[in-house]
Every structure is written in structure tokens, then in C-alpha cells.
């Protein structure tokens, strides 16, 4: 379990999220899957700040098939996909 919280301490009731990271942004990571523990009011933006990924402004943060805004609050137990701009065929 990795704690990424304000000042190193959980804020309020921690929000635990599973994060799957795809493609180029995860080059700096050993695994494409992380468990994060964030503060109670944690948002998508907080999540992005807490993981060492590249080009964070243009990543897609997805929960249950829906792209989240930076201000979207995360919920305990969320499964979040972090996806770079991608296209295939």
C-alpha cells in the first residue's frame, strides 16, 4: 500500500483507489498497477500529483468508462485508469 497524502499524513478518512496506468506515462514506474491511499477530499488532480507520470495535463483519468475532470472527487474503492492520448484501429 502506498500512501500519497498531504504532508505525508492521511487527511480525514483515507480514500483507497486502485490505479492502472497505460503506455508511455508509466515509463518511470515498475508496475502499471498501484494502490494509493489519498486524503478524504482527494480529487483526480490530487491523484495525478501523487504518481510519477509524464505529460500529466493531457492524460485521461477514467472511472467506470467516464473521463473525470481534475476537480472530480474520488471515492474509496475506486478503480481508476490513467490513459495517455491513444488511438488504434
Amino acid at each position: 500500500m502506498k500512501h500519497c497524502t498531504e504532508g505525508g499524513k492521511p487527511v480525514g478518512n483515507p480514500v483507497r483507489v486502485r490505479v492502472k496506468i497505460f503506455g508511455a506515462p508509466m515509463l518511470a514506474l515498475e508496475s502499471n498497477e498501484l494502490m494509493l491511499e489519498l486524503g478524504e477530499e482527494a480529487t483526480t488532480e490530487d491523484l495525478l500529483k501523487s504518481i510519477p507520470v509524464k505529460d500529466r495535463d493531457y492524460l485521461y483519468i477514467v472511472r467506470e468508462g467516464i473521463r473525470l475532470k481534475p476537480s472530480t472527487k474520488l471515492k474509496d474503492g475506486d478503480e481508476i485508469l490513467v490513459v495517455p492520448p491513444i488511438a488504434g484501429g
Binding site: 497505460f22 503506455g23 495535463d57 493531457y58 485521461y60 477514467v62 472511472r63 467506470e64 468508462g65 467516464i66 473521463r67 475532470k69 485508469l81 490513459v83 492520448p85 491513444i86 488511438a87 488504434g88 484501429g89
Partner: protein, 775 residues
């Protein structure tokens, strides 16, 4: 009951019906306004100053003369790009405005906004650029050599992929027959009727608004914001309607330039490329050189396939890396092949830019594998249809890349339909009646496969549904209507899921302000992704309707049911409320009226080693039969009859389905017979309808479409994608029919009269007839 029968037994009100297209009347009467038709008060006109050389270093840029033209309001260069000076959805290697080098004639060096188009065009001509010309890289094979001039500093091989399964060398040694040939395909141009165009402006809060006919408004939003160094939310993109796309509008075209000019001038700015500009600057299909060595045992079972692909991506990558993957995946066709060995290269040259085009790398390699298979059948003395029936994939099979196939597979059934088709059953009769003594007729059958969606790459889509005070539904979907019938299909699915009349559904399509991100209209995926997103959102809306009606009736929601735009009480059927009544209650009480839900596209966890997106979770399939007539005196080929049996899962709208297939076949005939953008030393020679020949109504054969409806469990109501599968077998079936007619095989598409004539002469032992440009 089989799954297919189960689909048939499901009582559906809207899905499966030939509902009249919602966008049809406007388009056929000319009422529909495309973005190139739009005009705003105080609007400026934009023009790009493009490169004069296919490959050159830029020593200096001077815009003073351009700025001095009366009416010119802004001249922007690379210095005015505030963010990343690069675009490309996956690899942003193409400059928004070039600063040190140009790599093809479409490269933009400056963009101008002026009061009139004439002033903008004049100013574009007066942008002075000092060039140092560089050697032009025009041959992709030469470009791969270490000492070749470099288009990009990192080298000319943008991607090299290898995929290996089993032991091909052992299989070749033990095989009864081995054939090896090299094939080439052309640089097809999309030739959509609406050229790349749009209008950019600012809203009251200073945010950028773009009306641009693209295939993915959210990707456009990302690319624009990345180049301008702003937040994506500061860019609104509206992308419906689109006057044709076929993959050619997946990539950024006018979007970033319009955004920059609107931001600079604070006025609406319109940019419409000319047809010639589109021909030079726009995306094309990757020409490929494919060497394929295929082996079979005595029974006709394919035992090995060795493939080497060289794909010319031109000056920039665009979607080339994944086009290469689809070419790899499709190079083994829909066949069980235990041993494969594939090397594929994506190579930079100065030949325009290649990217997405309907089929996405599949038509090129389909031509090769289907040609080799016919040659094997002939060597073994086998029937061409039987050898395919023997080898095609069946449900539960392991695919050629070593993974278990998960989706529905109807390829064998499509071959059965081909076998029963009039043109195949009566082939000897049709062949025996050519229109002139010097004409010969031939018939062939080939198959095709293509995954829909992004394969192993992550993919997702969301939809919103809002109920209006009048009880109608606004469905937010970001996939643009590009002519494929998406808006009508979405309406059918929504009406089915919301138990309402289709006229009560309005699709708010492809607007980043009004619709959540449903992804792109590409990869034959708009129906599956968008349809599933609607089916995820509809239960939430239905729950709102039931909860509200329960409040009105004073009953529990479990005691209510839907009945034709009403909610009724099961216990007391006299208790009934229309959707309008429920909606009015919701609005009056400030209740929630909008829901959003999403869909994560199923995918395998890891791609096949060496690939980016192989395998796909599910595939479309098709079999095609063509009857051709060849004039042996001129080499001119006419396709007389075309039969297509696709397996695209459940059919949502039969009329749209047939239209999609017919359009794909006709576009495929261009790939097969006439279309190839001629680029000589970096100069585009065929950039308009005068010199670039597409099929006309005179070239369209008698077409029959007879689908196989399998049930695809990941599709909405069992549907798969459709948009691309129809084009994929056209080149191969025409080429094989040509051989059947003449005994002469073409190894290069398009099979122009010159190429066919040359092949006939060579077959007769008469040698070349002087043309060296047509190999």
C-alpha cells in the same frame, strides 16, 4: 437455442429495423449546413503558407511583406506557438508551424488571418522563407538504409515490430507447397466531399470554440490545448456533421491553426483547405511493400506464413504505429496458421503523410495473403472456396498469434453464403458470356477479417441522458456523425432502452461541452462504444423515471413498469404517467434530470509480444465474390458483380448496414483499380479529381449484400462494428478475379490498365511494353 436464434427471439421495437436516417433528409436536400458552409459576422479568413520544398532546412522566415498586405490581420509563425509545437495523436512529431526544417510540401510555416480570402492567399504567397534544400527521401526501402538522408534526426525507421509464433523454417521444410511473392499497394486518398475545414472563435469567457469536421472532438481538444499550452477545458470542439472522413479526419488538420488565430485576433476565423491543398497536405493510406512466404500441407492446410512489411508513413507518424499493428494482425487473414514470422517496418520518407484510412492497414495485407492462398490452391489443384473453408477460424479456435478467440466468429458461414450466391453458383455461365471477343471474364472469392476497436489498448466511452420538461431525451455522445449513420443507430438503441418513440430521442453529438467523452468515430467502434455507453446510462435514467413515478403514484418503484413512453402501475393499470408528466414533476421539484454512465471496452490484459494492440477482443469478418471483365487489348478492368457477406453481429439498421457495405465496396474498387496518389521526388502529381481518379456511378457493379448475423456478446444487442470490413477484401477479390480471367497475376494495386496489360503480355511471353513507371 443458439445465440443467433436468441437474438431473433428478442422482441425489439426499434433495433433491427430500417428506421429512416435522422440526418438523411437534410443531407439529400442540401439543407444540412456543414462547417465549411458556416459564416459569422466579423469573420476572418485563414490560409497557411506551406513549404516550397519536400525536404529542406529553414534558414530564415520573414513575414513583413505578408503583414503589409491590406486586410491582413495576423501572421503567425512558430514563435507564436505557446505550447508544444507538435501534433500527432500518439506521436506529436509534426510541427504546428515549422521552424528549422520542412519534411513535405504540406508542412505549414505560417498561418494568416485576413479580412478576405484573397488577402490571406496573397499574404501566404509573400511569406519569405530561406531554404537549404535537402535530398528527398522518396523510396521507403532506400530510406531504411543506414546511410540514407534522415527525415527525422532519430532515423527513418519510425517503428520496427517483430511477431513470431512457432517455427516457420521447420514448417517450410515439411510443407507440400511454398509460395513467396512481393506485393505493392497504392497511396489511396480519402477524397471526402467536404474538404478539411472549420471555424474557430472565442466565447464570452475567452475560451476557444472550434466548429471542425473531425472524427474525435476530445482528441482534437487535447491536441489543441497541448499546442496552446492551456487546459483542455478551455477548448470546446463541435464535430458534427462531417462531410466524409474515412479516417482522414482522425488527425489534427485545421484545428490548431484556427485556435491560434482566433486567440490572436479575438474574431471568428474560417479555414477551408482547397482540394489541391488537401491532396498535398492531408493524410493518405499507407502504401505497403509486402513480401509474403506462405506454406501449406498436401490437404491445403496453411502451416506457415512469413511476412515482411514496409509501410511508407511519409513525413510524420500520425497513426502509423498502430496501422502497422493492424497490418501485422491481418497479414494472416482469418485463418488458423500455427507458425508465423512477421517483420514490419514503419518508415519515414518525404512522401506526404500517411495515417488512418478505412481498413487501417488491413486492405494492403489482405491483398497479399489472399493472392498467395489462391496460388497455393492452384498448385494443389484445390477449389478456391474449399481451401478457405478448410482454413478459416471457428469459434473456440486459437488465433494465429497464439491467443484464444473470444468474440463471435461467423467467417465460415459467410463463406457458405458466398458459395450459395448467384454469382458463385453460376460462375461458369457468367464467365462464358463476355461482352466482346477480346474481353475475358473471371470470378474469385476471398475473405477478410478485422478487429473493431483499439485491441489491447485501453478504450472507454461514456454517454449522458437528460430528460427535457416535455419528456424527451437528449443523449450526449461525442462520436461524430461522419456519414455512417451513428446518430440514427444511437437513437434506435436509446429508444429501445428507454421504452420511448425514436422521435423523442435527440442525439447531442460530438460537442465537448454537451457530451461526455465517448471516444472517436474510428476503428469501426462508434456503434459498439457509443451504443454500450447508452445502454449503461439508460438503466440509470429508467430508475429516475420509476422513482419519480413512484412518488407521484405513492407506490414502490418495484410495482411499476414501462409501457410506451409511460410508467404504469402493475397493480392498478389506471395509474399511468407519461414521460412528459414525470419530467415536469422532476423539473418542478428540482430533481435530478441527467445521468451519465460509461463503458470500459473489454480487452485482453497484455498485447502479443512485439505488438501494441494485438489481439482484439472481437473481430468482424467477411467473404466477397467478384465477377470482372478484362479488356485484353487495353487492360481495362470492369467489375460487373460484387457479392459481400459480412459478419458484423446483430444488424441495428438494415438500410444503413447495406449502405455502409455498398460504400465500402465502391471505395475498395478505387483501391483495387484506380486510386494511387502519384508523388514524384516529393511532389504530389495527382491532387484533385481531374488527375486522381475515383470510381464514378459508371464503375459501380451490381452489388448484393447478404449478412451473417452472429451474436457478439460485447456489442449492444449483439452488434459488432461494420464500417471497415466491407472495403478489406475488395482489392484481393478483384486481383484474383483478374487472374481467373486472364491467367495473368497483378502484384501491384491499383490494377491499372497499364499494369494489367503488362501482366497479360508477360504471361504471353511478350515482355515489357516500355512503361517503367508502372511496375
Amino acid at each position: 437455442m443458439t445465440e443467433t436464434a436468441a437474438v431473433g427471439a428478442q422482441k425489439l421495437e426499434w433495433v433491427g429495423k430500417s428506421v429512416v436516417r435522422k440526418d438523411g433528409a437534410g443531407k439529400v436536400t442540401g439543407e444540412t449546413k456543414f462547417f465549411s458552409d458556416m459564416s459569422f459576422p466579423n469573420m476572418l479568413f485563414a490560409k497557411a503558407a506551406r513549404s516550397r520544398y519536400p525536404h529542406a532546412r529553414i534558414k530564415g522566415i520573414n513575414t513583413k511583406k505578408a503583414e503589409a498586405i491590406p486586410g491582413v490581420v495576423a501572421v503567425l509563425t512558430h514563435k507564436d506557438v505557446p505550447g508544444v509545437n507538435g501534433f500527432g495523436i500518439v506521436v506529436p512529431d509534426q510541427p504546428v508551424l515549422c521552424h528549422d526544417k520542412v519534411r513535405y510540401l504540406g508542412d505549414a510555416i505560417a498561418v494568416i488571418a485576413a479580412e478576405t480570402m484573397e488577402a490571406a492567399e496573397r499574404a501566404a504567397q509573400l511569406v519569405e522563407v530561406e531554404y537549404e534544400p535537402l535530398p528527398v527521401v522518396s523510396d521507403p526501402v532506400e530510406a531504411m538504409k543506414p546511410d540514407a538522408p534522415k527525415v527525422h534526426e532519430k532515423g527513418n525507421i519510425q517503428r520496427h515490430a517483430t511477431v513470431r509464433v512457432g517455427d516457420v523454417e521447420k514448417a517450410f521444410r515439411e510443407a507440400a507447397v511454398v509460395v513467396e511473392n512481393t506485393y505493392r499497394t497504392g497511396r489511396q486518398m480519402h477524397m471526402f466531399l467536404e474538404i478539411e475545414a472549420g471555424v474557430g472563435m472565442l466565447d464570452e469567457e475567452g475560451n476557444i470554440v472550434l466548429y471542425v469536421g473531425g472524427q474525435s472532438p476530445y482528441r482534437d481538444q487535447m491536441q489543441v490545448s497541448r499546442a496552446l499550452g492551456i487546459k483542455p477545458e478551455q477548448v470546446r470542439v463541435i464535430s458534427t456533421p462531417v462531410g466524409g472522413a474515412f479516417g482522414g479526419k482522425e488527425e489534427n488538420t485545421v484545428q490548431i491553426h484556427l485556435a491560434m488565430l482566433a486567440l490572436k485576433t479575438k474574431r471568428p476565423v474560417k479555414m477551408v483547405w482547397t482540394r489541391e491543398e488537401s491532396g498535398v497536405t492531408g493524410i493518405k493510406r499507407h502504401p505497403m511493400i509486402v513480401t509474403m512466404k506462405t506454406a501449406a500441407d498436401r490437404s491445403g492446410r496453411i502451416v506457415a506464413n512469413q511476412v515482411r512489411i514496409v509501410a511508407d508513413t511519409g513525413a510524420y507518424a500520425s497513426l502509423g504505429p498502430t496501422v502497422l499493428d493492424v497490418a501485422i494482425e491481418n497479414s494472416c487473414g482469418p485463418y488458423r496458421i500455427p507458425n508465423i514470422d512477421i517483420d514490419a517496418y514503419l518508415v519515414y520518407t518525404n512522401n506526404g503523410v500517411a495515417g488512418a484510412f478505412r481498413g487501417f492497414g488491413a486492405p494492403q495485407v489482405n491483398f497479399t495473403v489472399e493472392s498467395n492462398l489462391d496460388i497455393i490452391a492452384e498448385k494443389l489443384g484445390m477449389d478456391r472456396l474449399e481451401i478457405r473453408k478448410k482454413n478459416v477460424l471457428r469459434e473456440g479456435d486459437i488465433g494465429p498469434f497464439g491467443y484464444k478467440l473470444l468474440g463471435s466468429i461467423g467467417i465460415y458461414e459467410t463463406l457458405q453464403k458466398a458459395e450459395r450466391s448467384d454469382v458463385w453458383r453460376n460462375r461458369e455461365r457468367y464467365k462464358s458470356t463476355p461482352s466482346a471477343p477480346w474481353c475475358k471474364r473471371g470470378i474469385a472469392v476471398t475473405t477478410a477479417v478485422k478487429g473493431f476497436g483499439f485491441g489491447a489498448l485501453p478504450d472507454f466511452g461514456a454517454a449522458s441522458i437528460q430528460i427535457t420538461p416535455t419528456g424527451k431525451f437528449v443523449v450526449g455522445i461525442s462520436c461524430p456523425e461522419i456519414g455512417q449513420g451513428a446518430v440514427t443507430a444511437y437513437s434506435q438503441i436509446a429508444a429501445e432502452a428507454l421504452h420511448c418513440d425514436i422521435s423523442d430521442v435527440y442525439i447531442a453529438s460530438a460537442d465537448t461541452l454537451l457530451a461526455p467523452d465517448t471516444g472517436s468515430s474510428s476503428a469501426s467502434m462508434a456503434l459498439v462504444r457509443g451504443g454500450n455507453a447508452i445502454l449503461a446510462a439508460a438503466p440509470k435514467m429508467n430508475d429516475l423515471l420509476l422513482k419519480t413515478a413512484a412518488k407521484i403514484f405513492g407506490e414502490r418503484k418495484e410495482e411499476l413498469r414501462f409501457k410506451g413512453s409511460h410508467v404504469v402501475s402493475i397493480k392498478n393499470p389506471k395509474k399511468s404517467a407519461t414521460y412528459a408528466e414525470i419530467a415536469q414533476y422532476m423539473h418542478r421539484t428540482s430533481s435530478e434530470t441527467k445521468v451519465v454512465a460509461g463503458f470500459n471496452v473489454p480487452r485482453v490484459d497484455k498485447p502479443v509480444k512485439g505488438s501494441l494492440e494485438i489481439p482484439h477482443w472481437s473481430y468482424m469478418y467477411a467473404s466477397a465474390v467478384a465477377l470482372v471483365e478484362v479488356n485484353t487489348l487495353t487492360g481495362a478492368t470492369k467489375v460487373l458483380k460484387f457479392f459481400l457477406s459480412p459478419d458484423s453481429g446483430k444488424i441495428i439498421n438494415p438500410q444503413s448496414y447495406t449502405g455502409q457495405c455498398e460504400g465500402a465496396i465502391v471505395q475498395g474498387l478505387g483501391f483495387a483499380l484506380t486510386e494511387d496518389t502519384q508523388i514524384e521526388n516529393g511532389i504530389v502529381r495527382t491532387n484533385n479529381f481531374t488527375t486522381y481518379i475515383i470510381p464514378t456511378i459508371c464503375d459501380i457493379p451490381e452489388i448484393e449484400v447478404d449478412p451473417v448475423e452472429t451474436y457478439e456478446k460485447i456489442g449492444p444487442f449483439g452488434a459488432k462494428g461494420l464500417g471497415e470490413i466491407g472495403i478489406i477484401p475488395v482489392g484481393s477479390v478483384v486481383a484474383n478475379a483478374l487472374y481467373d480471367a486472364t491467367g495473368a497475376r497483378v502484384f501491384t494495386l491499383p490494377a491499372t490498365p497499364e499494369r494489367v496489360y503488362k501482366a497479360i503480355r508477360e504471361k504471353k511471353g511478350l515482355g515489357d511494353f516500355a512503361s517503367k513507371s508502372q511496375s
